[in-house]
C-alpha cells in the first residue's frame, strides 16, 4: 500500500521521539582528575594551576562538553605526601578517569612517574631537569627548568664578574631546587661568576624568615638566587630589604607566581628571573585568557594557571580524539600530537613527553617584567 503523508510523518517522527527520550535519560559526565598540593604553604602553584584547568573546563562545558557529555573535574589534595598522592590517584582512577592533571611540584614528580594506577599524568609545572628523557607516565607541559636555570645563571654570572653567589633552596621541593641550584651554579661560574654557595632551608614553616635573611645578609653575596615558593620568597626579600641587602637578587621560575608579585610588591622590585612564561605578553590570545581569568578568579594568572589551562586543553583534545582509550593509548596520542598552539607560544612534546619552550631572562620593575 502506498504510504500516505500522515503515515510517512509518523514514521519519521517515531525515531526522533525515541532519540529524544533516550537523550532525556541523561549521560554520565567525562571524568578528568587533578591532583596536587592544594592546601598549605606550597599550595599556591597547584591552586593557580587548578584555576587554569577549571577555566578551560568551564569553557568546554559552556559549549556542550565533550560530545555532549559534561566534563567533571575530580580534584584531590594530596598534601604533598607520597601516601596522599597514592590515595588521591587511586580515588581518581576508581572514578574511571584516565587523565590526571598534576602534580604541580617537582617533588611529587616521582610519585606520578611511579604510579601503579592506569592514569596518564599531565603536569603543568613539574620542571625539574631530572625528569627529562625518561619514558614514564608523566608528561610535562612546562619545559625543563634546565634552560631557565642556565639562562639566569649565565646572566648573573656575567653581571657578578668573579664575585660569588648564594643559592637559597627550599627543600620542601628538593627535586626542583637541587636541579635548579646545580644548573644555576654551573652556568654562573661558567659565565665568569665566582664561587656559588648554597643555603638549604627545610621549608619556611620551620625556618624563620628573619633568621634566613640574617644569614644571607651576613654572607653578603654579590648575587642571590632564592629557589622557594612565591609567598615565602616575597617575605624573605622583604626582610632582606629591611636588613639593607643590596646584592643582585634573582628567583627561580617556581617562585614567579602571582602571590610573589602581589605580596612582594616593593620587596620584589629589581628581582631577576628566567622563565618560559612571559609575564608581559600582550598577544591577543594571552590577553583574552588573562582577561577571562581575572574575571573568573579576581586575580592575575600565574604561569601555573597558564600551563594548567594548556594541560586541560590537551586533555580535552585527547579525550575527544580517543573516547575509549586507556592511559597508554592516550599517552601515545599525546606524543604523536605534534605542535600545539599555547596561550603564549607554540610548543610540542619530545619523544619522552617533555615540552620544549624557550627560556628568557626578565627583571621586575614597577610590577612589570622587563625582558633582559
Amino acid at each position: 500500500m502506498k504510504a500516505g503523508p500522515a503515515r510517512a510523518t509518523l514514521r519519521a517522527l517515531l525515531p526522533v521521539s525515541l532519540a529524544a527520550a533516550l537523550a532525556s535519560c541523561g549521560r554520565s559526565p567525562v571524568p578528568l582528575g587533578l591532583v596536587g598540593v592544594l592546601s598549605g604553604r606550597q599550595s599556591e602553584l597547584a591552586i593557580a594551576g587548578r584555576n587554569g584547568v577549571e577555566l578551560r573546563i568551564e569553557e568546554a562545558n559552556a559549549k556542550g562538553g565533550l560530545r555532549g557529555r559534561r566534563v567533571e573535574l575530580l580534584v584531590e589534595d594530596d598534601e604533598g605526601t607520597e601516601a596522599g598522592f597514592r590515595e588521591a590517584a587511586a580515588r581518581i582512577a576508581a572514578r574511571k578517569a584516565r587523565i590526571v592533571i598534576g602534580p604541580f611540584l617537582s617533588s611529587e614528580g616521582e610519585f606520578a612517574a611511579a604510579s601503579a594506577e592506569p592514569l596518564l599524568f599531565l603536569s603543568p609545572t613539574v620542571s625539574a631537569a631530572r625528569f627529562s628523557g625518561r619514558d614514564d607516565k608523566l608528561l610535562r607541559i612546562m619545559a625543563s627548568n634546565a634552560a631557565a636555570a642556565k639562562a639566569i645563571g649565565g646572566f648573573l654570572g656575567g653581571k657578578a664578574a668573579g664575585k660569588g653567589a648564594l643559592v637559597v633552596r627550599d627543600e620542601t621541593n628538593a627535586a626542583y631546587a637541587d636541579d635548579y641550584g646545580k644548573l644555576f651554579a654551573g652556568a654562573f661560574e661558567a659565565a665568569g661568576g665566582g664561587a656559588v654557595r648554597s643555603l638549604s632551608v627545610p621549608g619556611f614553616g620551620q625556618a624563620s624568615y628573619l633568621d634566613t635573611a640574617r644569614k644571607i645578609a651576613e654572607a653578603a653575596p654579590e648575587a642571590l638566587l632564592v629557589i622557594a615558593g612565591g609567598p615565602d620568597a616575597a617575605m624573605l626579600f622583604r626582610q632582606l630589604n629591611r636588613l639593607g641587602f643590596r646584592g643582585l637578587r634573582a628567583v627561580s621560575g617556581w617562585t614567579m607566581t602571582s602571590d610573589f608579585l602581589a605580596q612582594g610588591v616593593e620587596a620584589a622590585e629589581g628581582v631577576y628571573f628566567s622563565h618560559q612564561y612571559d609575564l608581559g605578553d600582550s598577544s591577543p590570545r594571552y590577553a583574552a585568557f588573562k582577561s577571562a581569568y581575572l574575571a573568573r578568579f579576581g586575580r592575575e594568572p600565574s604561569f601555573s594557571a597558564v600551563y594548567g589551562y594548556e594541560a586541560a586543553d590537551l586533555a580535552l583534545d585527547l579525550l575527544a580524539a580517543k573516547p575509549g582509550a586507556g592511559s597508554e593509548e592516550l599517552k601515545a596520542a599525546a606524543l604523536a600530537w605534534g605542535p600545539r598552539r599555547g596561550l603564549q607560544d607554540e610548543w610540542s612534546f619530545d619523544r619522552y613527553g617533555d615540552a620544549s619552550r624557550p627560556a628568557r631572562v626578565f627583571r621586575l620593575a614597577a610590577g612589570r617584567a622587563e625582558r633582559q
Binding site: A6, A20, R41, N61, R70, P231, M235, Q239, R242, Q263
Partner: protein, 561 residues
C-alpha cells in the same frame, strides 16, 4: 479518502488523544500551577532566611574577633599590661578558634608580638601586606581576601585593626566550619563564607576553604550587587544551582547559600520531560492506532462504495483497479452461471431421455412378455393334454406377473420402484380373472405403503402369482367361493407379506416330494430374496413371507432379476 472516512479517522484520533493525553496534561498543569511554585516559594523563603541568619552569625563572630583585636591593642598600648600581651594572645587563640594567629604590628609594619607559641616572629616586616596597609587610622578595620598566611602556612583571610596609637592588630581568620545554622540548610545545600574575590573562607566542606575554592562567577551572577532575599539560578559547570547571597554587614565578605537545582529546575524539568514524553508517545500511538483502525475499517467499505459507484455510474477514467477487479469477477460469475445452467439443461435433457428410454424399455418388455403370455395362451388352446394345458396356463400367468411388474414400473414416477401393495392388488385381480372361478372370489386386502425395486418386485410377484394361483385352484372347499386375505405390513426394516385362504389346506411335504414346480419356484425365490417364508398348510393355508428391505446378495444359482 471520502469525507466520511476522514471524519471517522478524526473522531477516532480525537478519542484516543483525549484518553491518552488528558492525564499527562492534567499532571503537567498541576505540576506547573501548584507544585513548582510551592517548592520555589518554600525554598526561597528558607534559603533567604538561612543565608541572612548565617551572615548575622558570621557578623557576630567577627564583632567578637574585632573586639578581641581591640583588647589585644589595648594591652599593647598600655605599658603596664604589655608584659601580659603574649599570654593574652595565646588565651584569645584558645577561646577563638576562628583565629589561627594574632599579630601586633608596630607603626612601620614590623611584628612586635605574636601568640604563636614557640615561634618568634618579632621583627618580621609585613609592611607590604594589605593587612598593614589597608586599615585606616583610628579604629579602621580591614577584612582581607584569602591567602596563605606566611605565619601559619594555611589559607586565611586576615582581619586587621588600626588603633588610635597607630598599632595594627591582625588576626588570620581561618574558620573552617560555619555556624550551626548552616546545618539546618539540608544535606544537599552548600553554605559558604567568601571573601571579596569569591574565595571560600569557611564552608561546611572544610576542603573548600583549605584549597581556596573560588566562587566569583556565582557572586557575579547575582541580580544586584547587594544581597537580597530573592534566590537566583546559576549554572556551575553544567549543573544548576539555586543561590542566595547575604552580606556580612560592614565587610566585603558574603554568605553564599546554594541548593542543587534538583529542587527547582532538574526535578520539575524531569517531570515536564517525562510528561511531555508520555504525551508525545501517546500522541504518536493515538495517531498510529487511529490511522490503522480507520484504514482497516474504511478501506474495504470505501472500495466497495467505489466499485458500486463505478457499476452504477461507469466512468472509465474514474474506474480504479478495484473496480476493474470486481468487473472481471462479475464477468467470471456470469460465465460460470451460464455454464452451470447449460449443464443443468443438458443433465435434465439426459434424464428426460433416460426416462423415456426406461419407460420405453419397460413398456416393450411388458409388451413382449404379454406377447409371450399370449403365445402360451394360444399354445394352451392347441394342447390336447390337460396337464400341458395347465403347465402352459401357469407359465402364461407367471409371465403376466412379470409383465405387470414392468407395466407398474413404466407407469411409476422414477421407473425404478413400484408400490408393492398396488402391484399385488392388480396381480391378484389378474390371476383370479385368469382362472375364472364360478363364484366371485372374496378378497380382503390391507397394504402398508411399501416401495420396492425391480429386483425385489419380480421374485415377490412370481411368488405371489404362485400362491394366489394355488389358492384359486385349490383354496376352496366344495361349494364355497374363494376367500383370499392379502396383507402387507411394514415392520422394523422389513416387510411381511401374508396370503391366506380358507381352503382345506394341502400336504406340503407331499408337494415338495413330488417336486411341484410352484413349490420349487417359491422356495428358490425366497432364497434369492434372502427372505423367510413360513407356510401353514394344515387348512386353511397361510403363507407368510418376511422380506428385508435392505438389499442382500442373491443366492448362487438364483434366477436373474
Amino acid at each position: 479518502m471520502s469525507r466520511k472516512a476522514r471524519r471517522f479517522r478524526t473522531v477516532l484520533a480525537s478519542a484516543f488523544l483525549g484518553m491518552s493525553i488528558l492525564p499527562s496534561a492534567l499532571l503537567l498543569v498541576v505540576n506547573e500551577a501548584f507544585v513548582v511554585p510551592r517548592v520555589r516559594e518554600e525554598l526561597s523563603r528558607r534559603g533567604a532566611e538561612l543565608a541572612e541568619a548565617t551572615a548575622e552569625s558570621a557578623r557576630f563572630a567577627l564583632d567578637l574577633a574585632v573586639a578581641s583585636l581591640d583588647e589585644v591593642a589595648f594591652y599593647a598600648d598600655a605599658p603596664e599590661l604589655r608584659p601580659h600581651l603574649t599570654q593574652l594572645i595565646d588565651g584569645k587563640l584558645r577561646i577563638l578558634p576562628a583565629f589561627e594567629s594574632i599579630l601586633v604590628l608596630g607603626e612601620t609594619g614590623v611584628v612586635e608580638a605574636t601568640g604563636l607559641a614557640g615561634r618568634d616572629y618579632g621583627g618580621l616586616d609585613l609592611s607590604d601586606l594589605p593587612l598593614f596597609k589597608e586599615p585606616k587610622a583610628g579604629h579602621g578595620t580591614f577584612f582581607g581576601n584569602v591567602f596563605v598566611s606566611p605565619l601559619s602556612g594555611r589559607a586565611s583571610a586576615f582581619i586587621s585593626r588600626r588603633s588610635p596609637s597607630g598599632r595594627t592588630t591582625a588576626g588570620a581568620y581561618g574558620l573552617k566550619k560555619l555556624s550551626p545554622e548552616a546545618g539546618s540548610a539540608g544535606p544537599l545545600a552548600s553554605i559558604r563564607l567568601v571573601d571579596g574575590a569569591g574565595t571560600v573562607i569557611a564552608s561546611r566542606d572544610e576542603a573548600e576553604a583549605t584549597t581556596q575554592v573560588n566562587l566569583r562567577p556565582l557572586l557575579l551572577a547575582a541580580p544586584s550587587a547587594s544581597s537580597g532575599s530573592e534566590g537566583y539560578a546559576f549554572r556551575e559547570n553544567g549543573r544548576g544551582l539555586l543561590c542566595f547571597l547575604a552580606d556580612v554587614a560592614g565587610t566585603p565578605w558574603k554568605v553564599v547559600l546554594s541548593y542543587p537545582d534538583v529542587y527547582l529546575s532538574e526535578l520539575p524539568n524531569f517531570v515536564r520531560a517525562s510528561l511531555a514524553l508520555a504525551a508525545a508517545s501517546s500522541l504518536l500511538l493515538a495517531l498510529l492506532l487511529s490511522s490503522v483502525l480507520a484504514t482497516r475499517v474504511t478501506k474495504p467499505v470505501g472500495a466497495l462504495l467505489a466499485a458500486t459507484r463505478a457499476f452504477v455510474e461507469p466512468e472509465p477514467a474514474a474506474i480504479g483497479p478495484a473496480v476493474r477487479e470486481l468487473e472481471e469477477l462479475g464477468k467470471e460469475f456470469g460465465s460460470m452461471r451460464s455454464r452451470v445452467r447449460r449443464r443443468e439443461a443438458e443433465l435434465e435433457s439426459a434424464l428426460a431421455q433416460r426416462d423415456v428410454l426406461l419407460k420405453e424399455l419397460h413398456h416393450r418388455v411388458k409388451n413382449n412378455l404379454q406377447i409371450v403370455a399370449s403365445l402360451l395362451a394360444l399354445q394352451k388352446g392347441k394342447s390336447r393334454s390337460a396337464e400341458t394345458e395347465a403347465a402352459l396356463q401357469e407359465s402364461a400367468e407367471r409371465i403376466r406377473a412379470l409383465a405387470l411388474v414392468h407395466e407398474k414400473l413404466y407407469r411409476s414416477a422414477d421407473f425404478a420402484s413400484l408400490d408393492l401393495g398396488n402391484y399385488l392388488e392388480e396381480l391378484c385381480a389378474n390371476v383370479l380373472e385368469a382362472f375364472s372361478p364360478t363364484a366371485a372370489p372374496r378378497v380382503r386386502s390391507s397394504f402398508d405403503a411399501v416401495f420396492v425395486d425391480i429386483e425385489k418386485a419380480i421374485p415377490i410377484g412370481l411368488m405371489a402369482n404362485e400362491i394366489i394361483s394355488n389358492a384359486a385352484k385349490h383354496g376352496t372347499r366344495p361349494g364355497e367361493r374363494l376367500a383370499l386375505d392379502l396383507r402387507l405390513e411394514s415392520r422394523d426394516g422389513s416387510f411381511v407379506l401374508s396370503i391366506s385362504d380358507e381352503g382345506p389346506g394341502f400336504d406340503i411335504e407331499a408337494a415338495r416330494a413330488k417336486g411341484h414346480l410352484g413349490m420349487v419356484l417359491i422356495e428358490s425365490l425366497v432364497s434369492q430374496l434372502g427372505a423367510e417364508l413360513s407356510v401353514d398348510a394344515s387348512g386353511p393355508t397361510r403363507y407368510e413371507l418376511r422380506v428385508p428391505l435392505a438389499r442382500e446378495p442373491a443366492a448362487p444359482g438364483s434366477l436373474p432379476a
